[in-house]
Each structure stands twice: as C-alpha cells, then as structure tokens.
Symmetry: C2
Subunit: 507 residues, 2 copies
C-alpha cells in the first residue's frame, strides 16, 4: 500500500511488528492445540506470554501511542481513515489495560485451554473451576480498565463487535426468542416431527479417514486454498480457524465415527471463516486492514456456508451422489430428501455446535445471559453447572446429564475475554440478510444444486472478503444491502425453510 | 538456579529472553518443515527473520554486551564460570557479525529449506544453485566477520564445536581415511562379502504405519519421553531433532515402504539427540547451560544409540521376536544372525544417512573437503555436482547417477552455516570412546540383549546429559575417561566388529 500521509505510513510501519508478533503467537497457539506434548504446556504458555508482552510494549510505545492519538482524520483518504479508526479501536484494549494484566490473561488462557480440555474429557467441572474463576476475575478487571457507560459487559462485547452493547443484544434476543420458541413448539407438535428419519446410530460407522476425504472434497469445492492452509484433526477438542500468516489460514475439525454430519458441517463452518481471511486484498497484509472486520461478520461467513449452503436442499441434491460414492454400504438407500431431513432435524439438543438453525440462537441467548451475569457478579462461577441446567430446561426443555454436555462444552471462556458468543447470533442474522441480497443477483439455488460454488465465493469476495477491515460491520451492511442489521430476514428464512420441511405454516 | 554473583544473575535474567526467542523460532522452523502450506514460506521466513532480529538485538544490547565482556571470571563458582564461558562463545557470532547479516542468513535459510526440498525431489540442482550461492556468500562474509588465524573455515567450525580447526580435522581424517579404506577393501575382497543376505527389495512391503509403531516401541524402550516430545513423519525430507521447549523435544523420521531399516535407525539416531536434551538438569532451563554442549557430543549420543546399540548383535537378538511380531509375513524366516547382517552390510553406497559404520566417515571426509574448498573459494558452487561425483569415485568407488543421490542429499547447507559435517565424525569417535568406558562399568551386552536399556540411559544421564553445557567437550571427555579424544577406540571397535562379521583378521 502507498500512503499520502506520512503519519499513517509511520503507523503502518510500526504496526507491522505487532502484526508479525500476532501471527507468530498464532503459530504457538495453533501448535498448542494441535500438537503440544502434555508436559510442554508451562513452557508454551511462557512463550505466548512473552510474545504478548512484546506486542503490548509496541502498542504502548510512547511514539506509537502519540501517533494513534494525535493523527487527524480529516486530511486522510478513505483507506487511511479506516486504518486510523481500526488502530484506535484495537488500541482501547492496549492503551487502557495494563501490560501486566494483558500478559497474565494470555498466559492463564494458554494454560487453561489444556485444563479445560482435560476437565471436559473427564467431565470434571471442579478441575476447571479454579482457572475459570481466575479468568473471570481478569475479565472483570479488563472491563473496568476499558470503561463503559451502562454495563461492564459492554466493554467486552466491543472487543469482538465494535460498539455492540448489552442493550442491543437484549433487543435482538427479545425479538428472536419468542419467535424461535414458538417455531420450535410448533415443529415439535407437528405430525411430521416424529416421522423424520435418523441415522441408525451404533450400527453403521463412517471411518475418520473417509470423513476427512469428504470434507476435503467439499472445502476444495468451496474454493478453500489448501496450498495456503490446512485442515487438522483435533477430536474431541473444539474446532477453530486461525490465521498464522497471509497464506497460512488453518482450521481444525473433529470426527464422530458414528455420524458423518458434524465433521462436514464443521468443515464448512470453519472453511467459511478461512475463506474470508484467504480473500482479503493482499495489499492489506500486515496492516490494520487485514483480517475480518468483526466477529459478527466472520460468523456470518461461517454460518452462511454451514447453513445457507450446507444445509440447503440444493446442496443435498449435489451431495447425494458424492455421499453414495463415499459410503455405499451406509447410505446407498438414503436419497436427497432424506439427507436434507437428516441435516435439518430440529431437536432440543444439548450441544451448541450440533444445534439446528431453529434452536441455535437459544443456546446463544443462554450464554449471553450467563456471561452478562458473570461479568456483573450476579452469579458465581461455581454455580454455573446448576444454572446451566435450569436455563437449558427453560429454553430448550432438556437438561444435560453431565457437565461435559453442559457448561464444559465450549472452549471460549478458556481462550479469550467473554463477549464472543453473541456474535454467532449476529452472524446468523447477517448471513440471512446477505443471502437475501445475493439471491437477487445470482441464481444461487441452481448454482448450489450443480455444485458450482465459484460464483457464490466470488460474490462474497467482491462484496465482503476483499475489503478486510476497511468497512465496519454497519457500513458494510448498508453498502451491500442498503439496510442496517435486523432480525426479519433470518426469521423469514427460518419460517420458509421449516414450513416446507415440517409441512407447517410458520408465520 | 541461585547465583552468588549479581552480574551473572543479571546476565542469566537477560539471557532468558534470548532463550525464549530461540525456542519460539524453533517452533516456527519445526512447523515450517513439518506442516507449512506451500504458499506460506515467504510469510514464515519473515516471521523467522523478525525473531532472529529481536534475538540479535538482545545479544547486541550495550548493557548485556558490557556485562558479557567485563564480568571477571576469577570470583565465580564453577557453574557461573561455565555460564560466562558459554555466553562468550555464543557472543562471538552476535558481537562480531552485523545484525543485518544474521537476519539475512536466517531469512534466506528458511526459504532455502523449501527450495532445497523441491530441488531434491525433482532432482534439479540448478534450481537450488542460486540459493546455495547466496548462502555460500553469506558463509564467507560471516567467517570474515568472525575472524580466524589460519583458515576462514575455522571460524565456522568453531560455531559447532568450540575451538575445532581445519588442522585438527585434517589430522583426524589423515588417521581415519587410510584405515577405513583398507578395512573397506579387505571386506569387499572377503569371501563372505557376496554371501551376505539382503532384503528382497520390490517383493515385500513394510507399511509406514507399522514402521512408525516399531519406532515408537524402540524409542520408548530407550527412555524417550513422548509426553515431552513427538515423532513426526516428513518423508522424504531430511530428519532432524529440535528443542521447542524444555519439555518439548521433537524429532522427525522418514519411511521407505520397501525397507524398515532406515526409519528404525533414524528413530534411534534422532531419539539419541532428543534424549540428551530431555536429560539436561532442569535447573539449567533457559540459561546458557541448557542444551547439549557441542555438536560433536550431540552426534556422539545419536550415533551411540544408532550404532553401538542399534546395530549391535545383542540388540538384534532382543529385536528379532519384536520384528517377527510386527512383520510375520515378511520376516518370520529371518533369524537374529541374518538381521545382524542386514543391519551391518558394508557397502560403497551413495547416501550418507544410510551408510554403514565403515564407510560413514568417508562420506564426511568428502563433505569436509568440499566445505573447506567452498569457503575458501577454491571451488565454485556450480561445479559441485561434478566434483561430488569425482570424489565419490575416489573415496567410495561409486558414482551417483543423479544429484538427488549426490550433492542434493543433505539439508545442512540450506539450514545453517557450513561446518556441521565434521561433528558427525567427532560423534563417532566420542561414541566409541564413551562405550569403551561404559563397558567397564556396566554389563552392556547383557543389558542390550534383554532390552534393558534403562541402566544405559542412566549412565549417559549421569555422565553426560544432566551436565548440559556445563563442561566443554574436552573437559567432559577427560572427566569421563581421563583422556582426550582419539581415533583408536573407534578404529578398534570397527576392526573387532567387522572381523567377526566377515570372518577376517582386521588389524
């Protein structure tokens, strides 16, 4: 990139070090989750803490800070303005939170990722509790340092989605929740609900190696560039996507040998994230414009590929012969209609990542409420398993028998500050809204049915990916479909889709 | 560690950052060779270059430099003296070579590792040549900056083995070479030479997965701690061991599906390196006493496990039932005697890593001469393939048909400054000398035959590993066996072993 403004040029030059340190830290984190020998965690956490300290020092460097604070926006061109805006957004964290807290959070989180994995595997919430308490305390401290108007949780939400507040989240869930509960109830009461087929669990198996091959087939079809990324197996841990370099966007998957569906949907979800990173304009590399602009937009990409594409009837028509080829013994008698049903069963289930599109946001509402209550010390970490059960009963009518299927299922609290979960719901809403617009410009259904996904990726690249962090989410939304985010598109999409599936008139 | 001297305490405190940066860079390098997507190499090289710059800056920091230079050794205790001595040894490189050259070497080497791998695979020396020329030029520049008395190559040898010179290497090879050539000739003329069995190539196969399992069985038996390391497959690239953290010492292996021997010997070789690192006193972590003291001693550990143990008759007796269990169809008719022969065939072969113990050091002599000539600009990089063929003919009587089996076979020149190769020969000599001493204290033969390797590792731990870099190689040698390094032990070992195998009287 060329800059007309010398201050921006200086800022971007200095920022390059921050970017490099971030990517190196991503290599350390990726390796921690995929490869790390068990005794190496303390050493790795120290490495991550050290790089985090170096990055914080670069953010807090007096000259850099002064440039970020004093540079005037008025004389800058659009890209330069965006660079300054993004730096100021990220700088909130580094300028306001003391270096020691930033480093302590990073080191604790690195260790906790492993503690959580073990506690989850062994179903021992009490082994996870001390780490969770420490991180929760750090979350509260960070929120206080960041500052807020109404609610300390606002300060954390803003780390993932610029300007997002508790108030906004509550408004969104207030609109979604009654509608989703109503749809769920109608579906559960429908005639068709019990007649829908299911995989015959325990009888058939889907070897991991062939599931991997199937996922590779699909993500290549999506346009994911395997020469600039990898898909690794971290069964049973939590899948994730990470950018280790501009041409090194990796993700992980997990495999259930009794069910091929989860790994395929995970692959499409994570590849959706990865395609976003792989599609950013190359000239933005190592500048504050690189990378997805917010988690809400990021989740719109993952959820779009997982749901709008992966769980569509048209995709099942394309996929059926492929699945027959991969699993002749297991699936040769299952046709596209049945597969469509199998990928769209509405169930009050326990695990968020496996939830259908109707119930998914109820899982998020639960987490949003818990995080808000935790950060505000309205509830204590030790009471989480019980509160989880009560809320699951309330929202989904089911109660996990184990914490592994309850409060221990998600990696997020071990990893990063709270405030991530609501962005999944934003992602679902954005995805529906983008799809509505895309449908007006492309014959999506026909493309999907033929497995011709290139024009779809191309649309995303042109309208979203290439911009990286140039436009903030609301600007991007307005630019693409001339409207702010709202819940209507998503609810209409759900009602239309599930009316058909269950022979109902949802409205 | 506790220090009586405040300057040493300060030095060790500052050194910790250098150590951390080194380990993080090791993660980047390991991942580069094991996992990196092909388009990511430029980005990864930039990351490695950046960390190298940070490390060089810490070495070259005025206060650190002053402490290293001015601290008086006389008032220090033994450990503190060793710390200062080691810092001064490593500091030669960082104090004398400009930061820009250090960074350029690191970045070029990272990229060249990939260039070499591709050139080797495709047998295209000319694709490797530009990178090799650039690195050779940097080697010469580094040698000039380091300074030397007699020969610029001395400056490079010293990076791997403190004080090693061309003169010393020549003396060693002058003793070894005629003897080895004589032994080789006698063996090749012996009646038994042609009667020795060989694997029936092309007819049987040894699946990679079972070779991995066999290697894991053996390295666990050796005492390698898989909770503090990993063994990864990088077929067909060059195997290596790397320390990514005190409890994260990983190595790589490569597999030939037609021959189970190479991967097993490689595993024992690399695990020999890794055991050394895993055995260093924990209190030395992140200090200048951590890690093996020199490459010569390091190679003594790898070559000891590979040859003195792995290629011994006793180990074959232990291994035979194991091999029968792993490969009933392929090996059930092969007894311990035949296996011993199979692992000890003396052959004028093309590949160093596959060479037997008699010819191995002739491969090294060749490389030593080439490196000395290259650094002194007596020969040019472009002429290497032809010179290689001429020298192979002279030393081993065979000529590679392709550069893949010739000058392209080793990764070393792509990786690091020249001067590494002679340490393999030092390792072979040290290994024989250590074994001689060990045999006086332990009933090694009986232990090996029973597969009871723990007392052997324990001996190495006590006498060598735990000391890390506390004693320099000559001190260590004197401490253990009261003598300096010499060639006799190794030649006697060879003559005794191969007299038996070929029914000769080698003397």
């Amino acid at each position: 990139m060329r800059f007309s403004n010398i201050k921006i040029k200086n800022l971007v030059g200095k920022y390059r070090e921050i970017s490099l340190l971030g990517k190196i830290n991503a290599v350390l984190s990726w390796d921690l989750e995929v490869n790390l020998p068990q005794k190496a965690i303390e050493g790795r956490a120290a490495q991550i803490a050290y790089l985090t300290k170096l990055a914080a020092e670069r953010w807090q460097d007096a000259e850099f800070k002064k440039l970020v604070q004093d540079t005037k926006s008025s004389t800058l061109n659009m890209q330069e303005k965006a660079i300054l805006r993004n730096l100021r957004q990220s700088a909130k964290f580094y300028f306001k939170v003391p270096k020691e807290i930033i480093v302590e959070f990073a080191e604790t989180a690195a260790k906790t990722t492993v503690v959580w994995g073990k506690a989850r595997k062994e179903n021992k919430f009490k082994d996870f509790l001390p780490s969770l308490k420490k991180l929760l305390e750090l979350n509260r401290i960070i929120a206080e340092h960041l500052g807020y108007k109404d609610n300390p949780y606002d300060a954390l939400l803003d780390l993932y989605e610029p300007g997002l507040t508790v108030r906004q989240c509550k408004q969104i869930f207030a609109k979604l929740q009654p509608e989703l509960t109503s749809i769920l109830t109608k579906i559960q009461k429908s005639k068709n609900y019990k007649n829908k087929p299911d995989l015959i669990e325990g009888e058939l198996d889907y070897p991991v190696i062939s599931q991997e091959q199937l996922c590779l087939f699909v993500i290549k079809r999506m346009g994911y560039d395997l020469d600039a990324g990898r898909m690794d197996n971290i069964t049973p841990a939590h899948p994730f996507t990470n950018e280790l370099g501009r041409f090194d966007v990796r993700f992980t998957n997990r495999y259930d040998p009794k069910d091929f569906r989860e790994s395929l949907m995970t692959a499409m979800h994570e590849a959706g994230h990865a395609l976003y990173e792989q599609g950013v304009d190359e000239q933005y590399s190592d500048t504050p414009l690189q990378g997805g602009v917010s988690l809400g937009i990021h989740e719109s990409q993952s959820r779009f590929w997982e749901n709008q594409i992966g769980r569509s009837r048209e995709f099942m028509m394309f996929l059926t012969p492929v699945l027959h080829a991969f699993y002749p013994r297991q699936l040769s008698k299952v046709d596209a209609d049945s597969l469509f049903d199998l990928f769209n069963q509405v169930r009050s289930s326990l695990i968020r990542t496996e939830a259908d599109e109707v119930t998914y946001n109820l899982h998020i509402a639960l987490r949003f409420e818990l995080e808000e209550a935790l950060v505000n010390a309205k509830i204590e970490a030790k009471d989480l398993p019980e509160i989880w059960r009560v809320k699951m009963k309330k929202y989904l009518g089911v109660v996990p028998k184990t914490d592994r299927e309850g409060v221990l299922q998600d990696v997020h609290w071990s990893h990063s500050p709270m405030g991530y979960f609501p962005t999944y719901t934003l992602g679902n809403l954005y995805a529906a809204q983008f799809t509505d617009k895309m449908q007006k410009e492309l014959n999506i259904d026909e493309l999907i049915e033929k497995g011709e996904l290139e024009p779809i990726l191309s649309w995303l690249r042109t309208n979203i990916h290439r911009h990286g962090s140039l436009y903030w989410p609301d600007e991007l939304a307005k630019k693409i479909f001339g409207k702010q985010l709202n819940t209507e598109y998503f609810l209409n999409y759900l009602k239309k889709k599930y009316s058909k599936i269950y022979g109902l008139k949802l409205s």
